[in-house]
Assembly symmetry: C2
Homo-oligomer: 427 residues x 2
């Protein structure tokens, strides 16, 4: 049964760090290659990150957007999956070091370790204003949001002064917009008829953006459309709102202090800190500045892809941290490895931009595909099809469709569970 | 919006502590009564406890067996739901005290606070051998089980001495049998093809029972059938196995020490400790010994139902802690309250025994309905229909059916997520 059997040892060993969109796609793209592959991830599941906001707002449950990595790759015989965390990489000795002391030798390395929430040096804000990068994050946010409504109701029915919660989302990118929209619907529709002391539809949802407009990666007209669609849902958007401090229950702006029940952080990400332990130059958000074939400068057999890589597109701007970039890069690196095994030179990576989408609540969205700009229901339909199509695992596609159909018909959300527990951690 | 508005105040106030099968059924049975009802629960969800073992063994996810209480009772206008924990009851002053200091006045009280895991005085065993009474418990068990396989695989592929995990379930009642059966299937079928270093089907599943036979509430022939069905699945049953100590990784029996990766406790329950703060006499497992109308002796307007009540059936044995008992008692108490409001005397509770069922893995079960004894697939079909039928919330019935159909066709389980987090608690 051993993965280290002599028969296998002859084949080059590809180690992939991270089982996000990039890592998983790379592993699959190496299915027919004459290599053995080890996929390392610190969790046992692949997370469909674009729908994390749905878990955070009780629309979907974790198992509907996360799939066991073993389940996805189990039938691919040249892959070994290990639940382990990489603590560092030795590029000269070609080894990945693991937390706990083990290490793994590689012939080819693909670093696909993704990004994490960044507070721009204010790490103390993370306690008061959680970010949204993992299932754990989403469950923590869901709990805070649900408890805010429960507390307000408890206060109201016991005669204490009470008002519906005020929920603040910091950061007007796609995640912030999606969160704010879904939160507004939670109070306005899902909770309707369920409270006696407070009016949940009067909950205040505030979206703060430091820059001059939300969704700056979209065109100006779509950005304006998003503000209008958010306003329809009851979300108040404030641009030019730079946060200077976050205290428990208070967000401090330059000229204002906002009292609030829940603060969520969607204002920034940086590459996973593993990149810092690689050695090569990083860009300001911690991404490895890679070669045109996505390899690490000076290390042609070590590649970085996805949110951990800095790769400038033809317009001179770095490619965005979205799944299509990671997946295209994964396939390019897999091709380069196959070529290298066969004695050929790698090819440079060429990105094909397929457009971008952001959803705003139940049936609203904006989309930009080349010169085509869509907004409202049409954009939302496009968003729905793309996301269902990309959901990894057939069961999930079917179940998510049914759960959504049901939720959308009835405005009910079944995943509104407050589950408080301290989990034992892996040794 | 206030629940304490004068218009409502005229109606008698029924306070229900606990939103399990008993509390929820009582609230629903009072829908048309001229009372206002407050349902208190320390969680925000009703848990379908008979399927908790499915969450613990990754067959279902929490939102498929738990439903928000507000969602279930939201449209019943005479009900207020409060997420709060009762710390005590003053029967003379007719108040329920809440954790945090508030208290609630009642005209009628229904204590439906259920049972919790009991270690018979060995509370220190709870850390090494968790019980299964809540969604939190189930998630904790799921995590331990999945991590045991991940650890064994990690050891194996790094060349350490490794063997598939040994999982021990203590207690041969329905919960222990269901857990052991589902664990065996996890290793034998679900994990098949997914590991490279260990053979998960060689995982050892041990079911320990202190008494002379498992499932003692069933007839002797069904108990024997259960042992045979468990053996088919690969579960080793040991009767007469009295546990004298549980240490990390070791279960100590009278004449044996069993090294194991995971220990689960399904050997005992006792009433929720709230019953101790009521005052009236308790039976040895902490249940309130109630009158024939389920009221607390000397307190005709305060009732105890379900797992927290001790009520002897016509055969002189106490009624078992199962949902049909709690639900029948709930309807009887609701009827008594309606009669009391109308100036009539309460009626005694009469239990109608509809039989009992226990499932053993994927398509096996035993059932006893009066003189009819069923086992194997027929019993399992009966079990399936009864459980789907009773699942509260239509969405869940449909989704659970689909998830099961999918799982049963493919032996895949999508809910195998290891999610480690420390959850913030409600203030």
């Amino acid at each position: 049964m051993s993965a280290e059997s002599p028969e296998r040892e002859r084949r080059p060993h590809v180690v992939i760090v991270g089982a996000g969109f990039g890592g998983l796609t790379a592993a699959k793209a190496l299915a027919s290659a004459d290599v053995r592959v080890t996929v390392i991830d610190r969790t046992n599941h692949h997370t469909f990150q674009p729908l994390l906001y749905q878990v955070a707002t009780a629309g979907l449950s974790p198992s509907e957007i996360a799939q066991p990595i073993r389940g996805i790759l189990g039938s691919q015989r040249n892959v070994t999956v290990r639940m382990a965390e990489a603590s560092g990489v030795d590029l000269a000795e070609r080894r990945v070091h693991l937390v706990g002391g083990d290490d793994i030798a590689w012939d080819y390395l693909i670093v696909a370790c993704g990004a994490e929430t960044s507070y721009f040096g204010h790490d103390d804000w993370s306690r008061s204003a959680p970010g949204l990068k993992s299932v754990e994050d989403a469950l923590g946010i869901r709990q805070r949001v649900l408890e805010a409504f429960e507390r307000a109701e408890n206060d109201a029915v016991t005669g204490h002064p009470a008002q519906p919660p005020c929920l603040v989302v910091i950061g007007g990118g796609p995640t912030g917009v999606e969160l704010a929209g879904a939160l507004a619907e939670l109070g306005r529709h899902v909770f309707r008829r369920e409270f006696r002391g407070i009016d949940p539809s009067a909950a205040k949802i505030l979206l703060l953006e430091a820059g001059p407009r939300i969704l700056p990666s979209f065109s100006d007209d779509l950005s304006k459309s998003a503000v209008a669609q958010l306003a329809d849902l009851g979300v108040e958007v404030r641009t030019g709102a730079r946060v200077s401090a976050i205290e428990p229950g208070v967000v401090v702006l330059e000229h204002d202090r906002l009292a609030c029940s829940v603060v969520l952080w969607a204002a920034g990400v940086a590459a996973n800190p593993l990149t810092r332990r690689l050695g090569p130059p990083l860009d300001p958000t911690g991404r490895v500045v890679v070669e045109r074939d996505l390899s690490i400068p000076g290390h042609p057999r070590a590649f970085v892809i996805g949110d951990a890589a800095r790769f400038d597109g033809p317009d001179g701007h770095p490619l965005p941290g979205v799944s299509p970039v990671a997946m295209q890069q994964a396939r390019a690196v897999a091709r380069s490895i196959r070529r290298s095994v066969g004695g050929e030179a790698p090819l440079p990576f060429v990105y094909v931009d397929k457009g971008q989408l952001a959803t705003i609540g139940r049936i609203r969205a904006i989309a930009m595909v080349g010169r085509i700009h869509l907004s409202g229901f049409v954009a939302w339909m496009a968003w729905l099809l793309v996301h269902i199509f990309y959901l990894i695992g057939f069961k999930n596609r079917v179940v998510v469709m049914i759960v959504w159909a049901w939720s959308y018909l009835t405005y009910r959300r079944g995943s509104r569970l407050i589950i408080a527990r301290e989990a034992p951690r892996l040794r």
